[in-house]
């Protein structure tokens, strides 16, 4: 007889031997998302760390049918599969797309908007590591202000784009943030989304060991600090209007999050004050809209 703990452990879809960097936050996120989704699904990836993690030919890191599409079309690619499955009488098979922040905030925003506008029956997961990390750390519109990247050596001058507000403005049935530091919250949200129809969007902050200049064993810790310092809050938006907060942060000063990352080591006290003010303002705005319903 199998030990009880083994029989109740959910099946892993992402196999050992995938090709992520050691300690990668994106790989952890993929593992959790796929485990929650199960392998009765079709998965789309696009150029990003996700597509590299998924394995080189003829290998496949995930035990689920997967398609590596073009950079800017994660959403319509998933939508085409979803429509085709429906034509074949298999509309109960969920189709999930993984894209990075570049593929979502920047080059894929138009096609994501189109899919959301048509309320395509897909789950879209943005693995946000706040820059073009797969091409070696360049700035994207998901890179926070003052952040060092290879193309912002003196610090990013732009603010991070508010992707959740953009998605909420499409009035899609479901949009949620999730974090690898809160696996129960993440699992519950993926399973909730799996059982819904229409366009479902996830924004996952996904620490990049090399790009964020953090230790290999710190992706979860840094993710936790992001949430507790209110840099990245855990919440859901239903039908674009109904905001629910899933976790009451501990209200750590933002510096606690910044100081552990080499990409912020150049910050001056007034930079940190600007970031703190922005974080506080974003939190205030979110708190105004949201009701509280912790999942964890």
């Amino acid at each position: 007889m199998m030990p009880e703990v083994e029989s109740t452990r959910p099946k892993e879809i992402l196999r050992p031997g995938h090709t992520a960097c050691p300690g990668c936050g994106v790989a952890l996120g993929m593992r959790m998302v796929l485990r929650a989704l199960g392998n009765r699904a079709v998965v789309v990836v696009v150029p990003s760390c996700v597509s590299v993690i998924s394995g080189p030919f003829p290998h496949a890191a995930a035990d689920v049918p997967m398609f590596h599409s073009a950079f800017e079309v994660a959403a319509p690619t998933a939508a085409g599969i979803s429509r085709a499955l429906a034509l074949q009488g298999q509309e109960d098979i969920p189709v999930l797309a993984f894209a990075g922040d570049g593929g979502t905030f920047d080059i894929g925003l138009q096609s994501l908007s189109g899919a959301a506008d048509r309320n395509e029956d897909i789950i879209y997961v943005c693995m946000d590591n706040e820059g073009y990390m797969n091409t070696g750390i360049q700035v994207s519109s998901a890179t926070p202000r003052f952040t060092w990247t290879g193309t912002t050596p003196a610090g990013n001058t732009r603010r991070k784009k508010q992707i959740m507000e953009i998605m909420a403005a499409h009035r899609i049935p479901y949009a949620a943030t999730a974090s690898i530091a809160f696996p129960e919250d993440l699992t519950g949200k993926i399973q909730k989304a799996r059982d819904m129809r229409g366009t479902r969007f996830f924004h996952m902050l996904s620490p990049c060991i090399t790009g964020w200049r953090i230790g290999e064993d710190t992706a979860v810790k840094v993710s936790k600090l992001a949430v507790e310092a209110k840099v990245f809050s855990l919440y859901e938006i239903e039908d674009g209007l109904k905001y629910t907060l899933n976790h009451q942060p501990r209200d750590l000063p933002v510096d606690r999050y910044l100081e552990v990352q080499g990409r912020y080591h150049h910050l001056k006290p007034d930079n940190i004050a600007v970031i703190q003010a922005e974080v506080d303002r974003n939190w205030e705005e979110l708190a105004k809209r949201a009701t509280r319903n912790p999942r964890d």
Binding site: R40, V42, P56, F57, F67, P76, T77, I81
Partner: protein, 384 residues
Amino acid sequence: MKKFITGNHAVAEAVRLCRTQLVAAYPITPQTPIYEKLSEWEATQQLGGTMMRMESEHSAMAACLSASLTGVRTFTATSSQGIALMHEMLHFTSGCRAPVVMACVNRTLAVPWAFWSDQTDSLAQRDTGWMQIYCENNQEALDSVIQAFRIAEKVLLPCMVVLEAHFISHFMEPVDVPDQGLVDGFLPPVHIPRRFELENPGFVAPVVTQSQYRTFRRRGQQAMEYALNAIEDLDEEFGKTFGRRYGLVEAECVEGADLVLVTTATITSTARVALARMREKGLRIGLVKIRVFRPFPTGPLRALLDGASRIAVIERNLSLGREGIFCSELKSALINGPGEHHIQGYLAGIGGTDVDPELIERIVLDALDRKEPTDGPVWMTEEA
């Protein structure tokens, strides 16, 4: 049943008759009436399939590609800027060996902005791995779409059916719209690989090594070579079912001709009229129409033209810095043959300008008179 319809309408009829399951499209002049007609039929339950009203042509091809890989029959239509925007996904679709069918209504590319017939938009997609069929009239547009699905699904490469702006897309002609039963007999229900089966999960289109890449490219080339025979065979079968055949190329009066005129698409119809008149006057002029551009029908062209000493190519497209694209392709196809040729390229109808029988007569007389061909193209305009 005979209907008096535009070429766009004829294409839509073919898409309906082929029981196309998924149409993903985006409006662009002059293709839009195809998209509208299919939408109208979808709304009145005459289409059978699903329509995706996309936010761009690039996304339209992404959706056609992924739906095709899932195992359904897919179609899109576009023109000009639309096919230029799709370019990346065209490579993707052929690389994935997805039998997507597309109608490209030839239209000038900006800049300058214009709406007229010019083949450069589809010819600029030459190296994307799509098969390309150029249509002479509305009937051929309808028939070629039906053939295209059958060819694409046999060869497992995508196929583009090309029709010219206005001359085909908007001009009305009597078209025989075949019975559903005949089309069903020629084109069986879709049976293409389903690449996302849960029981057999795999990773489609991962990263490959240099030598693996070369292997995939070689297989693509083999598929194109196989397509040459497949297109001929299926055309013959089409002829038996529908009583109309087109071939890879079509020839008239080539044997013993003093000059062979090579044309594509609608200019061919005009050339037929002009050459009939000239033959009445005793001139021996042959005509070869190139219908399939990819795979390029080198063998059939050599069989027709190896013995032709004087050839004139008339075309409505231009590769800046070289010449008309069909002319270059024809020259390269004949270069290993035993014969010596004078091949003269003529640009006529550029920008969608009119090519009338008189213009074609002038081209023929010019070609007969020339001592030596020029390496670059000769520009022909309407006024004598």
